[in-house]
Each structure stands twice: as structure tokens, then as C-alpha cells.
């Protein structure tokens, strides 16, 4: 049978779309739907005799009363806000510096990308050494050879939390910087020249020209960093394992422990679904408010 021209074209289009769609469905939609399915069942790996009974929203109701989950959620939110704030700030500074003309700028640009290129597990291990109470670099910088004043940074709940924030800011600021740099490079030089002729101070130039024009880039960096920060896991896994006293326990790590350590597949999946919903809501809010403005500006 001969297909009409339009039908054949549709087949062609479909065949081109298929691989991409297939991967999205297989690797994005399927896991999400499966997690939701799991979260509606009681599944305890250690007790296969219990079967996999469907329990409706029981896991979700339990999650509402779970004080550890609540604590981890607060930790996660604090982590997201502090890291995103400092990363955007540091990223802006980095971008402003490497956007200038100076000798060795190429090397500086490459060097700034190094933290971002290192796998998180490796950099977390490095930070664990830096914060070590006996041979850590940080103690050496602060106290030199007077070893008796060395502090155990990862042993105190508050400093341990600060430590993972610092490690994350160090690692991902350059990514934010890179995005902002792209924004900076779009600003035509004439604007600054005109501003100088008009007698604008460097601060005024920054406030009135640079900042408004890099706003889209800033917002994109903000979006990426927020969503990424919600997924924090490897830092905590390597540096603190959630301790001391659960002070660095974040939602993703808590869910991981429930599923992989305790074997509570159902309940652990409920936590994953929660993280997914939070990220989704955050993304939607960003896309709605930020996204429309982006298109207007862009």
C-alpha cells in the first residue's frame, strides 16, 4: 500500500522523534511513576513474607508525622537557600573578574572551572581532609603548629553544616559564574563608553547597566542552582553521613537510608516523591515568574 505524502512525512517525523522520546519516557517518566507506585505500597525488603500490600496514602500520612523527615526537610531548605545565595554572589564576583581584560585571563578562566570539573565525591573527600581535626589544612591555616587549639569542624552540629555549605559553594560557584559571564559578554561596550562620557561612576555603571542586563543570566543561574541544591546527596554521604546528631541529614540522604540501608522501599520512595514534588513546584514557580520575564528581556 502506498502512503500519502503527508502520512509518510509523519512517519518520518515520528521516527526521528522516537529515540529522544523513548529515552525520556524510559529514564525520566518511568522512574517517577514507579516511585509513586512504590510509595503507595508497604514494601520491606527484609521481610518478604509481608508481601507488597497496597496501603494507599499511609506512607504519606506517616511522613507528615516523621520528625526526622521534618528536620531533614528544614536542613535541606536552609542548605538550598544559603548555598544558592552564596553561589550566585560568588559567581557574580567570579564573572566580573574574568570578564575584565588582564594578563593571564585565559589561565584564570580555566582555573576557575576546575572545582566544577572535579567529581563531587572527590571534592567532598578533599574537604573532609581540609576540615579534619588532626591534620586538616583549615586548622593549620588558623592555628599553625599549636595543635592543642585545633578544632573538630565536623564534630559540632553547626560547624559541620557550615562545612558542607562551604564545600558546595566552592564547588558550584564557578558554574554560576560561567552562566553570568555569558550574560556579561552580551553587554555591548558602547553602553559603558556612553556612560563614562556622561560621567557615571563605576558603581552607577554597575547598578544601571550591568545588573539589569545580566538579570536573565542571573535568573537562569538561580534556577539551575536551586534545583540542583535540592538534590544534594554526595557531599553529605562522603563528609558526614548525616551526623553529628543528624545536623547534616538532608531529605535525599534520609530517603537513601530508608531505601538502601533499612530496606523500606515504600516509605523511602515516599520521600523521593516528596523531593520530586518540591523540585517540580520550585521549577514551575521559577518558570512562571522568571521564565516569562526572561522571554520579554531576551
Amino acid at each position: 500500500m502506498r502512503l500519502t505524502r503527508a502520512a509518510r512525512e509523519n512517519v518520518f517525523v515520528a521516527s526521528l522523534l522516537f529515540p529522544g522520546l523513548f529515552f525520556i519516557v524510559a529514564f525520566v517518566f518511568y522512574p517517577i511513576i514507579y516511585s509513586i507506585y512504590l510509595s503507595l505500597h508497604r514494601i520491606v525488603l527484609g521481610l518478604p513474607s509481608l508481601g507488597r500490600p497496597f496501603i494507599g496514602l499511609d506512607n504519606y500520612l506517616r511522613l507528615l508525622e516523621d520528625r526526622v523527615a521534618l528536620h531533614s526537610m528544614i536542613n535541606t531548605l536552609v542548605f538550598v537557600f544559603t548555598t544558592t545565595f552564596f553561589e550566585i554572589l560568588c559567581g557574580l564576583l567570579i564573572a566580573l573578574v574574568i570578564n575584565r581584560q588582564f594578563k593571564g585571563r585565559g589561565i584564570a578562566r580555566a582555573a576557575i572551572l576546575v572545582p566544577w570539573a572535579i567529581p563531587t565525591v572527590v571534592s567532598s573527600q578533599m574537604w573532609r581532609f581540609i576540615f579534619n581535626d588532626n591534620y586538616g589544612m583549615l586548622n593549620y591555616i588558623f592555628f599553625g603548629y599549636s595543635t592543642h587549639s585545633y578544632a573538630a569542624w565536623l564534630a559540632h552540629p553547626s560547624t559541620a553544616f557550615a562545612a558542607i555549605v562551604i564545600a558546595d559553594v566552592w564547588k558550584t560557584s564557578s558554574f554560576a559564574g560561567l552562566l553570568i559571564l555569558a550574560g556579561l559578554q552580551l553587554i555591548p561596550d558602547e553602553l559603558y563608553r556612553a556612560a563614562r562620557i556622561d560621567g557615571a561612576s563605576p558603581w552607577q555603571q554597575f547598578r544601571r547597566i550591568t545588573l539589569p542586563l545580566i538579570k536573565p543570566a542571573l535568573l537562569i543561574a538561580l534556577l539551575f542552582r536551586t534545583i540542583d541544591a535540592f538534590r544534594v546527596f554526595d557531599l553529605v554521604f562522603v563528609m558526614t553521613q548525616g551526623g553529628p546528631a543528624d545536623s547534616t541529614n538532608v531529605l535525599q540522604f534520609y530517603g537513601y537510608k530508608k531505601i538502601f540501608t533499612e530496606g523500606l522501599m515504600g516509605y523511602g520512595s515516599t520521600i523521593s516523591v516528596l523531593v520530586f514534588v518540591i523540585s517540580l513546584v520550585v521549577s514551575l514557580v521559577y518558570i512562571k515568574t522568571v521564565g516569562t520575564r526572561l522571554f520579554q528581556n531576551g
Binding site: F12, G46, L47, A152, G263
Partner: protein, 442 residues
């Protein structure tokens, strides 16, 4: 691109020849793979999931000897993390997915009920008859038994012990402390005395990070004060009772940041042992392997100066040591169970256990080795320690132990690192959570 050219691409794309070509491309790797499979089949490969040993070379040596005896079997080691919790996560992930890349694995003493109940570890009742089991220390066999079946063969036994600096205790005229209070006061005298001579050291080092080891360490304090974590008969947690609360309070007040540096809140075994073998601690709590490391002149600055004793207790209590140790198990999903059993038999046999003891500092699970002249020559304290090994106390026995342990870890870590929290309220909360978990088994 105009429409005709789209059509010509379409035609080629759907041409049968093209399909054949794609098909062959896809099948080619499979074909290659099946060839290599066949070649490998000549030798049975056993995947052995283990952790990086504290003393390098011992596992390699035993595997070498095994392969000499069994030239038809090849052992491939897969090395997991040192932390028991992290190792558990890795191993159960593989078993859960019915991975064929696991034949033989090491199990911590707390896992056999879980692995048995989940169907991951193969029951060894037929291969490992009662007569053979009788040759092992009783506690280690019990730890491997769940609902009447045995799921692992004990490889070595661990129990908490007190290491001390013989030279320093002698210098200040002390004998190894009987009670925890004694240990604190001795440590204080020695630390301040040494400080006057310009030598900095801590009183004590142990494992207090939020991880499995914290449960062992804290259990020893609680039990030696007459308390309990989980009553084995009523299955009620004892955390909120007076003896347990007192013991936790003691650790919070007198150990963390006082006898021991505050950094112990981040220490597992290796970090805490480093402090001791660098000569930076008077007392140290660890498992038997630390003896070998402490006396190794290449690694330790205190070789020959380390002493070993039973753990102290509280006034009115008696000394308790947490039962630890590792077992060899076989995956239910292994394709080569027979060869796997050969390896397990060898690994836990007298010859291998003797090598583990002499070179690895591991306490054997076979009773006969405690009368072995070579073993006793290297470890004169083993004859005294046999009693400790016989009475070492297991952690709560339940297939849901990992969940119980996570609650305990959270409670203990919180209790000892936050000086201002209400211990009793936290203990009650943790007990309630543990009861909820235990109720799931019913």
C-alpha cells in the same frame, strides 16, 4: 531540505538492506560477548565481595593458597567500603537486584537474620552440619542462625576491648582500670602529668561518629551499667530507663570533649586507632585487630607499649563487650554454589583462620585455634580473651536491625553531641520509634 530529498532518505532508511546492516551492528557485540563467555567457562569464576582489610596482603595470600589447591576456580575480589553500613548498602543493592556478580560475600554479625529473611543468603544447613558447627565458638554460630537455619560461616570474632599504654600506666603506678570512673581519673592524672613534661595527649579515643560502631560503643556503656538496649524477651527498648540514661549521660559529660577529644564525634575505627598508635591517647576502645596494628613498628609509634584488658564497667555493673565479627555467606543467586562453598570452606577453615590471626590480627572463630601454640605465641592475651569472646553480647537480633540501628545511631549521636537536649524525652521518642519497627515484624 526539499521534500523529494526527505523521501529519498526515507526510502533508504526503510530499505531492507539498511535494516540488515543495523541488525548486524546491534548483534555484533552480543556475538563477541558469547565467545568470551565460552572461553571463561573453562575456569569457574567466584566473585568475592569483601572490604579492604586493615592489614593489606592477608586476603590476597589466602586467595593465592586457595587457587593453588583449586586450579579450576578463579577468585575475583570486589572491594567494598570499610564502613559496615556503607558496605551493607552496596552489598544489599547487588543482592536485591539478584546480581550474578556476587557468589561469596562477607556479612557483619548483625546481618544474617536480615539476609536470611530476605532470601539473599543461601541456607547452608546441608553443607555445614551440626558436627562441624560445634567446632566454632557458640556465640558466632548463634549469630548466623535465624529461625533454625544457618546462613553464614563465622570467619572471625570481634569484641570490644580496652587498649592502654602499658608504659604510661606503669609510670604513674596504675593498673588497668576496672571501672569507667577509674579510667577517667587515671586518664586525667596521666594527661596532666605528661602535659607538664610538654607532651600532649588525650585520655581516650573511641568510635562516636553517627554510624554502626556508635551503637556498639554505646551498648557497652549501657550494659555495663546494668541497662539494656532491647530486652530479648519482652522486645521492649530499655533506653529510657535509669541505667541506660545514666550511662549515656556519663559518655556525654566525661568522655566527649573531656577524656576524649571532641573530634571522636567524627571517628570510626581507623581514625580513632590512628590517635592511639601515634601515641596520642592513654586508653583506646577497639576490636582485636588493633593489637596487631599497635604492635607493628612500621605503623605504630607505640609498638610494644600497648596493653590489652577487658572493657571497664560502672560501679555495681559488670564488663560487657559488643559482639562483632564477620561471616562468609553465599548468595542465593550464585550460579556456582558448589565452587562458592569450596571457597567458603577454605576461607573459614583452620589454615586460613590461622593466617588471618597471625598476619591479620583477627580473633579466630574456631575453638581449636585458641590452643594453637603459634597463635598463643603471637597473642598471649587470647587465652584470657577467650572468655570475653564467649560472653560477648550481641546487638538486637531482628531482620529489621538496620532500621533499629539507624534510630539508635540518631539518638546516641544526638545525645552525646548536643549538651543541652533533654535525654529522657529523646530516649522515649527513640524507644517509641523502635517499638514501631519491631511491631512490623509481627
Amino acid at each position: 531540505m526539499n521534500k523529494t530529498s526527505i523521501h529519498s532518505i526515507l526510502k533508504t532508511f526503510f530499505a531492507a538492506k539498511m535494516y540488515m546492516f543495523v541488525l548486524v551492528l546491534m548483534l555484533f557485540p552480543l556475538f563477541l560477548f558469547s565467545c568470551t563467555q565460552k572461553e571463561r567457562d573453562l575456569k569457574t569464576t567466584i566473585h568475592f565481595v569483601t572490604w579492604k582489610p586493615n592489614i593489606p596482603g592477608v586476603q590476597e595470600e589466602i586467595i593465592r593458597l586457595f587457587e593453588l589447591e583449586h586450579p579450576d576456580i578463579k577468585i575475583v575480589r570486589e572491594i567494598g567500603p570499610h564502613s559496615s553500613t556503607a558496605f551493607h548498602d552496596l552489598l544489599t543493592q547487588k543482592l536485591k537486584n539478584r546480581s550474578e556478580d556476587v557468589d561469596v560475600f562477607l556479612m557483619d554479625v548483625i546481618w544474617p537474620p536480615e539476609f536470611g529473611a530476605a532470601g539473599w543468603a543461601m541456607p547452608l544447613d546441608e553443607m555445614f552440619p551440626r558436627l562441624e558447627r560445634a567446632k566454632f565458638l557458640e556465640g558466632t554460630i548463634l549469630a548466623n542462625t535465624y529461625r533454625g537455619s544457618i546462613y553464614g560461616v563465622p570467619l572471625f570474632i570481634d569484641s570490644g576491648m580496652l587498649y592502654y599504654r602499658k608504659d604510661l600506666l606503669a609510670k604513674y603506678g596504675f593498673t588497668p582500670p576496672e571501672t569507667w570512673q577509674d579510667m577517667i581519673s587515671q586518664a586525667e592524672v596521666i594527661v596532666s602529668g605528661e602535659a607538664n613534661e610538654g607532651k600532649e595527649l588525650y585520655g581516650f579515643s573511641g568510635q562516636f561518629k553517627q554510624y554502626e560502631g556508635l551503637v556498639c560503643d554505646m551498648m557497652e556503656y549501657i550494659l555495663s551499667n546494668g541497662g539494656e538496649i532491647l530486652n530479648s524477651e519482652t522486645e521492649k527498648p530499655g533506653l529510657a530507663q535509669r541505667p541506660a540514661l545514666e550511662a549515656v549521660e556519663f559518655v556525654r559529660k566525661n568522655i566527649i570533649g573531656r577524656a576524649a577529644p571532641i573530634g571522636v564525634l567524627t571517628y570510626q575505627e581507623p581514625e580513632s586507632l590512628d590517635v592511639f598508635i601515634q601515641g596520642k591517647a592513654v586508653f583506646h576502645r577497639n576490636w582485636p585487630y588493633a593489637w596487631q596494628v599497635s604492635n607493628d613498628p612500621e605503623r605504630s609509634r607505640i609498638a610494644g607499649k600497648a596493653g590489652i584488658a577487658k572493657l571497664p564497667h560502672f560501679t555495681g555493673g559488670r564488663s560487657y563487650a559488643a559482639l562483632g565479627g564477620w561471616q562468609a555467606g553465599i548468595s542465593s543467586y550464585s550460579k556456582n554454589k558448589k565452587a562458592a562453598w569450596e571457597f567458603v570452606k577454605f576461607l573459614t577453615g583452620e589454615k586460613a583462620q590461622k593466617i588471618f590471626a597471625l598476619q591479620g590480627g583477627r580473633a579466630p572463630t574456631r575453638k581449636a585455634l585458641y590452643d594453637d601454640a603459634d597463635v598463643l605465641k603471637s597473642y598471649p592475651h587470647f587465652s584470657d580473651m577467650k572468655e570475653v569472646f564467649l560472653t560477648a553480647y550481641p546487638r538486637p537480633v531482628t531482620p529489621l536491625y538496620p532500621a533499629v540501628s539507624n534510630i539508635l545511631q540518631r539518638y546516641f549521636s544526638n545525645a552525646i553531641s548536643s549538651p543541652h537536649i533533654d535525654l529522657k524525652a529523646e530516649a522515649r521518642e527513640a524507644s517509641k520509634e523502635i517499638e514501631e519497627i519491631i511491631a512490623m515484624e509481627k
